[in-house]
Subunit: 386 residues, 2 copies
């Protein structure tokens, strides 16, 4: 890999020591999390499958009126498997196989809830602005082949699976959406959530393919906690994160696809800020690798036409309401990140910090209503002294 | 200082090198900022006065229809000077003298706008829950001695000064507020802004002393840009930052007072997230040092009574809309941080990222209005498959 670093955390662990290392980690990552003791078989599978496996524990205080609510929640980041020129069905099948293997390892690690990356069954082809063959990856959320595939795995492993796909809503005019399907640990589709904010930036030509969600900010009450899904670009919108919190989410997943030159310095900030501001756990998931397309395209930045999007930098991580976070997965390879967490921490942090109590919702409902009016006059005080 | 680190950036610069250092800095801090070439006299004053002096340049693209709008904005972090047992007037006078010295150095560095720390004329005595003598530090925003003192400095140095004080509103029942006074570079009071969210956490017993602002989110149009002030605990509230953005702010100052055990892992996250989400510059300012009080108090955390609040960790920094930020000032000593910036960057980032265009204000105005209703039913989808 020459001079490419695997992760910031890897560099810090290699180059710092003693008090300097622990102070830098405390300030940058909050308290030092205990590593999970994952099964030897799982470690062996990860090694054989050439993917990273990491696990951390977030603890909470013991309460006398509520039992702990400990769950294991995980995320997967992965490269595409076949070239983007292979038949669509083959590309999808190859990714299915790869991810099924990683889900099996998650099951071995006693994972209860897992979330895959954005549009996980396909290359992130929206940079091309071509509709064919990429629209062929779109499928029904409730009744498509990917959902069927995962329903079997979900019930087999007793695991809630969140599956972000390109959705085709055939019953409503063949409209496409960027959608996450929530499959229960019994294999039923609980519901779906759609991407609320659609980027129009650089290679992210997604507004060409689908529109903003019409489903609001649903939260799914599962056996393992209340789940919200904030897809990709929605992580730049604090009000989007906030709405999932208002609906009671305890775990908010952010399946994403983003590249280094555009967003890497923001990556460690946004999902973590959301965890703090809303007193819930967040899961930032990014795909990994470089995807090359058959036809050249431009990136609206003056560069000559080219065939790849740049490097998806992985770095998936989990952030807690108390401002601690896990290290990121590798910037370079597939990975499975397991977090054991006690959901009771959400309320404990809320009681301590009072951030929800102090939100002043009436004030901001009024502010936003006024600001949404096309005739809105901003509250500006002028300096007449000049 | 034994094993206390000066700052994370200091450790990274000392222990990493070459590509590892530059990659870690790129990922954690965005692009590497050019250091400002500050005058030798200013450096000498800082050395003589035992305060840190640092300066960085944020650049923007050249536009053909707008000239650059380059300003120098600065922040000061400082310890109190006299013991908290000295007469109130003496304590205040000693802090005035110290800060006037640092403002003079800022003027030498051609600073146009400066912001002081929260309740800068006093120790952060709210941990004591005592009203006397601390309420004596409260004074009129428009006509108090501190405002008069700074008006002279503002016109002398042609500098906008933002002065966060404990305000006494004598005309309206002697009510106290946590207020920032905005003084123009011509020495006039342009207006004031009050703290919108009041903490009730640990030693931050501030709800005992003053209430939530009744002034909304005013933005002050000065000769050097449009300024908002988000005081302290308001930094945990993304909706608060957002409202200053809706009113057109380009520079939002966050004068704060916060201690390490409570908030240090959040410090680098929140003001920076706000700069990204709202496409404006943010200035995170924290006082520094340990303040000891004459009478013991408790911290609502089971610890025995004691006389100090813990260490205020400084670490003031500036964050830009493009996700870059300056290193922080020291965790241990007084400091003056100067940022040269081109305000045109705000619009350039807005055009590129489209975050403001994609805010969906109508949706969230509706969501917040519903959520503010005591009978609000969260949007929850239940799993009936179990």
């Amino acid at each position: 890999m020459g001079d490419v670093i695997k992760s910031v955390e890897d560099v810090l662990n290699n180059r710092l020591e003693g008090n300097e290392l622990s102070e830098v980690k405390r300030i940058l990552y909050g308290k030092d999390l205990e590593k999970l003791d994952l099964p030897t078989e799982a470690r062996a599978e990860a090694e054989k499958g050439s993917f990273e496996l990491a696990g951390y524990r977030f603890t909470a205080l013991t309460e006398s009126t509520r039992p702990p609510r400990v769950v294991r929640a995980a995320v997967i980041q992965n490269q595409i498997v076949l070239p983007t020129t292979a038949p669509v069905a083959d590309q999808r099948q190859a990714i299915w196989n790869r991810v099924a293997e990683m889900i099996a390892t998650a099951a071995r690690c006693r994972v209860n809830v897992i979330c895959l990356q954005e549009a996980w069954t396909m290359p992130f082809a929206f940079c091309t602005r071509e509709k064919q063959p990429w629209c062929e990856f779109a499928e029904s959320a409730e009744d498509g082949p990917t959902t069927h595939f995962l329903q079997d795995l979900a019930s087999k492993h007793n695991m809630v699976i969140i599956s972000p796909i390109l959705e085709r809503d055939e019953a409503h005019g063949d409209v496409l959406w960027n959608t996450a399907v929530i499959i229960s640990n019994h294999g039923h589709v609980i519901g779906k959530s759609r991407k609320n904010h659609i980027p129009r930036v650089g290679d992210f030509n997604e507004s060409t393919y689908y529109m903003e969600s019409n489903l609001g900010h649903p939260v799914f009450q599962t056996e393992f906690g209340k789940i919200g899904v904030n897809i990709c670009y929605g992580r730049h919108m604090p009000q989007n994160w906030m709405a999932y919190g208002l609906n009671g989410a305890e775990l908010v997943f952010n399946p994403s696809a983003t590249v280094g030159t555009l967003s890497e310095p923001m990556w460690g900030i946004e999902a973590r800020n959301a965890a703090i501001a809303n007193s819930y756990f967040t899961f930032a998931i990014n795909r990994v690798g470089t995807e090359t397309f058959p036809n050249e395209f431009t990136s609206a930045d003056g560069r000559p036409a080219h065939r790849d999007f740049g490097h998806f930098y992985g770095s998936s991580y989990v952030a807690a309401p108390d401002a601690s976070r896990t290290p990121g997965l590798s910037r370079l390879s597939d990975g499975l990140l397991v977090a054991e967490l006690d959901l009771n921490l959400c309320r404990q942090v809320r009681d301590r910090w009072g951030l929800r109590m102090n939100q002043r919702l009436e004030l901001y409902a009024d502010t936003l209503a006024r600001a949404a009016n096309p005739d809105f006059q901003p509250q500006v005080v002028y300096d007449y002294s000049g």
